[in-house]
């Protein structure tokens, strides 16, 4: 368990955006792992199995507790879609971001920024950049249209960049 607990917890925490929920999910993952202990012991695929179960449980957890709000969430995101499809962003994309920071500082800034994204942006973004799923796979997993996934990921990136730049700049100043 010790070898995998950080991986399981961080996968759940990045997807859920909530440490308390992530700990609950991680606990459930390891209980399931215990039930399959005979299959997993010594298996080279144990890490992959744990990662898949963590991802599935987190998505189930989020959909179970937030299903009742889904209708209104979609209404909200649709209205936001129409608003945000209008003007284009007018800032330049830098060549790097957080590149001058230590891994620890970079990690802290990224994790904090991810938590502030709304679920419908954070989930596809994490699945794309951290779990390395394709757009189509994410759309299938989340049962959402491919177009909406691409839009949500694009907006999540656009929302993250200024935050990372701002906090990266602040951390850089503090370090120096």
């Amino acid at each position: 368990m010790r070898a995998y607990q950080d991986m399981v917890f961080s996968t759940a925490a990045r997807l859920a955006g909530n440490d308390t929920q992530a700990e609950d999910i991680a606990q459930e993952v390891f209980i399931r792992a215990y039930e399959h202990f005979a299959d997993l012991r010594g298996s080279v695929t144990a890490g992959g199995w744990l990662k898949t179960v963590t991802t599935n449980l987190t998505l189930n957890y989020l959909s179970r507790y937030r299903k009742r709000w889904r209708l209104f969430s979609e209404m909200r995101s649709n209205s936001q879609d129409s608003e945000a499809d209008g003007p284009e962003l007018d800032w330049e994309v830098p060549d790097t971001v957080l590149a001058d920071l230590s891994v620890e500082d970079r990690s802290a800034i990224v994790e904090a920024a991810l938590k502030q994204l709304p679920d419908h942006q954070r989930l596809p973004l994490v699945l794309y950049h951290f779990e390395e799923l394709s757009y189509q796979e994410i759309a299938d997993r989340l049962n959402v249209s491919l177009t909406k996934i691409k839009t949500d990921i694009r907006r999540a990136r656009a929302a993250l960049l200024p935050v990372l730049q701002e906090r990266g700049g602040a951390a850089d100043t503090l370090d120096s």
């Binding site: 368990m1 607990q5 991986m7 440490d19 215990y34 209104f72 971001v97 891994v103 990224v110």
Partner: protein, 159 residues
């Protein structure tokens, strides 16, 4: 933002995310898992999930359930039939169903009579009022959701 900028943004962020170490799990996690497993292990077999029951208990449970279902069906059928023939039983069944059909037919007749008697304008008015009521309640629900739920969920600070 054009496609070129989007691709650049994707690369820049991917670079920023690349190689990030996993977050450290809370120190309480291991103890929580151990405690949960100990609690589950202390439960009697009949209080855990069916899949974890001993094989003998599972087989016995399935057999008992099947026997109960069979006994219920056979008992019900024999109690219903008694010493009647199948034709008598069918007639009895029809006797039960007939009043229900009569009530449904009467309700349908009353509904069609009401539709004929009430002026169409009134019907459209009632329909419109129902739709207005639905839209109002839906709007109130959406407003409450945005005000109460979204505001509280983004209280931690949005981007």
């Amino acid at each position: 933002m054009n496609t070129e900028s989007e691709q650049k943004l994707e690369q820049v962020l991917h670079q920023a995310f690349k190689g990030l170490p996993p977050r450290r799990a809370p120190s309480t996690l291991e103890a929580r898992v151990a405690e949960s497993l100990a609690r589950r292990a202390s439960l009697p077999w009949w209080r855990v999930s069916f899949a974890s029951w001993p094989v003998g208990a599972r087989v016995a449970f399935v057999l008992i359930c099947a026997a109960l279902v069979a006994a219920t069906i056979l008992g019900g059928v024999s109690a219903y039939l008694g010493d009647r023939s199948l034709n008598q039983a069918a007639a009895l069944l029809q006797g039960w169903v007939h009043p229900i059909l009569v009530v449904m037919a009467s309700a349908g007749g009353v509904a069609s009579l009401v539709v004929r008697v009430i002026p169409p304008l009134w019907l459209y008015g009632i329909l419109g009022f129902g739709i207005l009521l639905y839209v109002t309640l839906f709007g109130l629900g959406a407003a409450a959701y945005r005000t109460l739920y979204l505001r509280s969920s983004s209280a931690g600070g949005g981007l």
